[in-house]
Amino acid sequence: MKAFRFIAENCDLCRKCEEACAQVCGSSKKQSGAYVPHIRVMQSPEGPFMRLCKHCEDAPCVDACIGESLQRGPNGLIIQDEDRCIGCFMCNMVCPHGAMKTIMSQEKAFKCTLMCGKEEKPTCVFACDRGALFFDDLRAQNNEKRRAKLRGYPKK
């Protein structure tokens, strides 16, 4: 199982990931003309951070979806039937990553479903040339976290 990984230290908020996502992904494009990526990189006094679906193993959004719009797909990813979304934002209420893109004017919530069709290297990851965004094996990520912990890093 793969997941997104964001290295804040390397991000300079160039927004190439957002642009790529907005241009390629089907549901982003639905918002006519507007720039609506599923990935959002935001600035905070503590540095940049990313808002994007992590396709959690224990996805609370799927249980919370009263419209039965969010489901775990056959490949383990959390997928969405956007036509079934009725805009209650229950998913947004339970997503600890703040990943749901809530669009009030459409009364719907959207998320990354890897619709860009690039499961090996999603469009946003491909677009990042700063070494800030990766899509790799969860297990490897956990190993990396463990190693980082042993090294006493990251400190932030």
């Binding site: 209420m93 339970v94 703040g98 009030m104 009364e107």
Partner: protein
């Protein structure tokens, strides 16, 4: 729940009474874990499973019938689940492991090895407004929505008793059909205990901007009587009002009738343990029919919400399959939108006390409030901008101290955190 193991296949029979989210969530898990066992669902309604939460959207023509009725025959066939519709469980013989069922006027018995009680809950009616199929009903199932839809003609008038989530959603649906609606609520706030006075006022203002909708708080219906084709309701101050039909939404009670005298322990709701098992071995319960834990305090509570039914049922099914899993529960919460005004509420925002601290953010468009006890957030409510509400729910559930939470980069997504981080004193006193 992490992984689903395939248990040994003994050809057992798992019976589920009820056919909404708890039932289908359990059936799904049971099938994955027990490819060879038989699974039977006994449902009182005459349509296959659908999301109960969508019936008011159907009432208001915001979704179609096809959209609402999401689980067709194929859904059951693909999972090899036998579905008994129009079938009401009427009794339980624990000794012989049998459920007594009434289907289309005929009595049947269904044997089980394990049983899941997933009968949910049903609206409460009071002597002042007794159930009347001709004009005083609740809003709980597909049949209710079909009936209300048939009554909901332009120029008609409805009285809704109770301004909780279901009452207001029903009102919203009826107004979309051109019905004039009056909602009467005993409490000083709409949406129960999940809003404060200010939030309630904002929600009320948004809803009643529509000329067909009126909401009256601090009032109640003390009597109803039939007059001609319609009804007359009497309010507590003695005034009367005529209407065409009445929707009762003052709360629900768990559907436990068929468990009477069976030996399953009930205290208004079914008492389950952490594995969702009832007091009787092999009999489990999940969803609106039973209790669950408050994930933060660990107390047993009645948390009749969709996510609890979905998750609790999966845990029940795993235990019915021989795995030992416990359900940690959830926190009372809900989220809804009326005319593009979103309301998200997590925990009891009305909790008061000398040890309770409040942090508020207010603009004409946005109102957010966090409540802390001992420096730890326990409730959050947001109106207008609910973006990223789950981030703060994470802090509530994780008991993250507020001062630590506000330093997290993604916490700044929330206006209340942002403004607190910039000027703690101003926000706390707002």
């Amino acid at each position: 729940m992490k992984k689903i193991k395939t248990a040994s296949t003994t050809g057992r029979q798992h019976v589920i009474v009820g056919n909404c989210i708890a039932a289908v969530s359990a059936a799904e898990t049971l099938r994955k874990m027990n490819p060879q066992d038989s699974i039977v669902i006994i449902g009182e309604e005459d349509v296959p499973s659908y999301s109960r939460c969508l019936i008011t959207y159907f009432l208001g023509d915001m979704i179609t019938r096809k959209h609402l009725l999401s689980h067709d025959a194929q859904w059951y066939a693909e999972r090899n689940v036998e579905l008994m519709l129009s079938s009401r469980a009427e009794g339980l013989d624990v000794k012989n492991r049998q459920v007594m069922v009434r289907q289309n006027g005929k009595n049947k018995t269904v044997s089980y090895d394990t049983l899941l009680v997933a009968t949910g809950s049903t609206p409460i009616f009071l002597p002042a407004f007794p159930y009347d199929p001709d004009g005083i009903i609740g809003m709980r199932n597909y049949a209710d929505s079909v009936r209300l839809k048939s009554w909901a003609k332009k120029g008609k008038k409805a009285v809704i008793i109770g301004a909780g989530f279901v009452g207001l959603k029903s009102a919203y649906g009826l107004v979309k059909q051109g019905v004039q609606v009056k909602v009467v609520e005993l409490l000083p706030t709409v949406l129960g205990r999940m809003t404060d006075l200010e939030a309630s006022a904002r929600v009320k203002a948004r809803l009643t901007r529509h000329e067909l909708l009126e909401i009256e708080l601090n009032n109640s219906v003390i009597a109803t009587r039939k007059r001609g084709d319609g009804y007359v309701v009497t309010y507590q101050d003695g005034t009367e009002e005529a209407c065409d039909f009445i929707v009762a939404s003052v709360g629900v009670r768990a559907c436990t009738d068929f468990l009477k005298d069976s030996g399953v322990d009930i205290d208004r709701i079914v008492l389950v343990d952490d594995r969702q098992q009832t007091s009787v071995d092999g009999i489990y319960a999940a969803g609106d029919v039973c209790r669950s834990r408050h994930i933060v305090t660990g107390e047993w509570i009645y948390n009749a919400i969709w996510p609890v039914a979905a998750a609790g049922a999966r845990i029940a099914a795993a235990n019915m399959s021989g795995e030992k899993l416990t359900y940690e529960g959830n926190i009372p919460m809900n989220s809804v939108d009326f005319y593009e005004l979103w309301i998200t509420a997590i925990g009891n925002v009305q909790d008061e006390g000398p040890d309770v601290e409040e942090i508020t953010f207010k603009t004409p468009a946005i109102y957010q409030k966090v409540k802390l006890r001992g420096g730890v957030p326990f409730a959050f409510m947001s109106i207008g901008n609910v973006d990223g509400a789950g981030i703060i729910r994470g802090a509530i559930v994780g008991k993250t101290p507020w001062e630590e939470f506000v330093r997290r980069p993604n916490a700044k997504v929330l206006p209340v955190v942002n403004s607190y981080a910039a000027d703690p004193a101003a926000t706390a006193c707002a």
